[in-house]
């Protein structure tokens, strides 16, 4: 019927390219949002644990806070939970003295969650400065 308008043709192609670019852009944004918005439940374990043959013992009651959030008080053999969003976080552990009213020292740990390894963290291992502080998933 009509001869295709060359200018229209180019425009359409340009539009398609732009839209394809936009789709890709939105896909990337979606992936970024997924990563930064994914919520994890961190399990914080203040128990005796053996990782890769090394055994860590709890030092006493600790206050643990993630990303400057509300501190969680963990006694020996206690387990706490913190909900976090995204992968990179800072964990702050304050070790108390035996009367539980003075902070002896505190440890800060920057970490990145690896969902493959798990989200069960051993507080004693972190305090001890071990490189392995994620308690592997059972089974």
């Amino acid at each position: 019927m009509e001869t295709p308008d060359p200018i229209g043709g180019i425009l359409l192609n340009k539009r398609m390219t732009v839209n394809l670019g936009l789709v890709i852009l939105f896909a990337i944004i979606a992936i970024l949002l997924y990563n930064s918005g994914k919520g994890y439940n961190l399990l914080l374990d203040n128990q005796t644990v053996t990782i890769n043959g090394v055994t860590f013992e709890p030092t006493g009651t600790v206050f643990v806070s993630v990303d400057d959030g509300e501190p969680v008080e963990l006694w020996v053999d206690d387990r706490g939970m913190a909900t976090v969003k995204g992968k990179k976080h800072v964990l702050k552990i304050e070790v108390l003295d035996e009367d539980e009213n003075m902070v002896l020292y505190s440890v800060e740990k920057r970490f990145s969650i690896d969902p493959e390894k798990g989200t069960l963290f051993s507080i004693p291992a972190i305090i001890a400065g071990s490189s392995e502080w994620v308690i592997p998933k059972e089974r």
Partner: protein
Amino acid sequence: MEALGPILKMEGIGKSYFGNRVLRNVNLSLGKGQILGLVGENGAGKSTLMNILFGMNVIHETGGYEGKILINNREIRFDSPFDALEAGVGMVHQEFSLIPGFTAAENIVLNRESTIYNILVESFGERMKTLNKAEMRQRAKSAIEKLNIELKDDTLVTEMPVGHKQFTEIAREIDKEHTQILVLDEPTAVLTESEADILLDSMKRLSGLGIAIIFISHRLQEIMEICDKIIVLRDGEVVEETIPAETSIKDIASHMVGRNIDSAFKRETEMIDNSFSDIILSVRDLWVDMPGETVRRASLDIHKGEIFGIGGLAGQGKLGIANGIMGMFPAGGKVIFENSPVTLNDPRSPLGMGLAAVFEDRRGVGLLLEEPISWNIIFTALQMQNKFLKPYLGGLVKVRDAKAITECTRYYIDALEIKCIGEDQEVKELSGGNQQKVCLAKAFATRPKLLFVAEPTRGIDVGAKRVVLETLKNYNKKYETTIVMISSELEELRSICDRIAIVNEGKIAGILPATSESTEFGMLMLGKVDNGSEGEKTS
């Protein structure tokens, strides 16, 4: 001017719809800046010719046309009106094509708005451009200026008088950059006299700017005034091509209506003079608010037993008279039937008094398309006269009498030669001519004393036309029923009527015996007789 050659040339244009020839070997040429007056009766082929020029769908859906169209000496063939617009042919139709809630400026640049680019266009396309309102108004203003008319660009269409709507339409065509040919289809019909003068003036200006104009009008005065060339169409042929200096209104009028009487409907019977019989229907100062067919102040008397014709050009109000009296549209005035007044605006009153009508809008008003023939025929009689009802339970309930209905229907199928497979066939399956016969049968079934028949032959083939007209004539003779026939085809009226009234601008322009000269009717139709508008020009 002539050195450049004609801007538009149509050679040997012909067209037929389903074997029905409407245009035959039409030639015309139009030079730059010329105004061509195109005149002819309704159905002479003007609209078809313009539809061909404009590439309307209806043309190629029905098999295209014959002949050649050349614009600037290049042959063209438009597939759609948009192609025609592209090639610089602009058309202003009779019906307004305006968006009511938009301003004049917005309508003038409709779908050709000035726009500004923005970044979203890259993703969503051209239509995301924003409007450049300032430029739109500027364009509108300059188009209005070219026409030299009073029209504010920010007036809403709904608030405009009719004339300004017409101007807006024309301004839209002017705004199209390469419009070189402008077709104006009866632009002055809706205008007041002063408005029409302004319009004629702007047309002259436009032609001065080099735009060629085809001007279709029934107002011959205007044609004579501004056209460089006049073409008269009759029955699809060019019967006269002339220039205003060499002709007169009377000349043109006779060319328009004059036709070989011996063609289709030769008058066979002698005219019967009923003028001494009683007046059966008397109409005084009737106004009817029927869209497109407004009746303003019509007065006429119809004698008992005659066949009375009402003619006139389309849109002048001839159809409104029957519709008004029968209560189909809001109406006022005085209508006396057999010495008792008819209550207007209530169809039951005229029906109850023995009037009946076959309306021009067959499919819209005249028929129940999805019901069987029998229902269509007996319904009015059943409703108004309680015919075809059979009592049960001692008259407690009355139920449709299927047997009587079938009998009656069969009678009319035979009598009117309705071609169908049976009385239960749905009417929508019938041809136009047979549908018209059903309409007549419906009216006959009530045994009316006076019967209005509006445009009974519109859109049906010649054979059926003859049967319909014969039937009316015979019915008139057999039952002495007064018949008022309304038709745009003057020859048809002249072939069976005794007297014919011509309606112009909602009033009766005059009443003449059917045997009068066709030129006289032509003059009446064109409003060129000054014997007073409500003149009862009896012979």
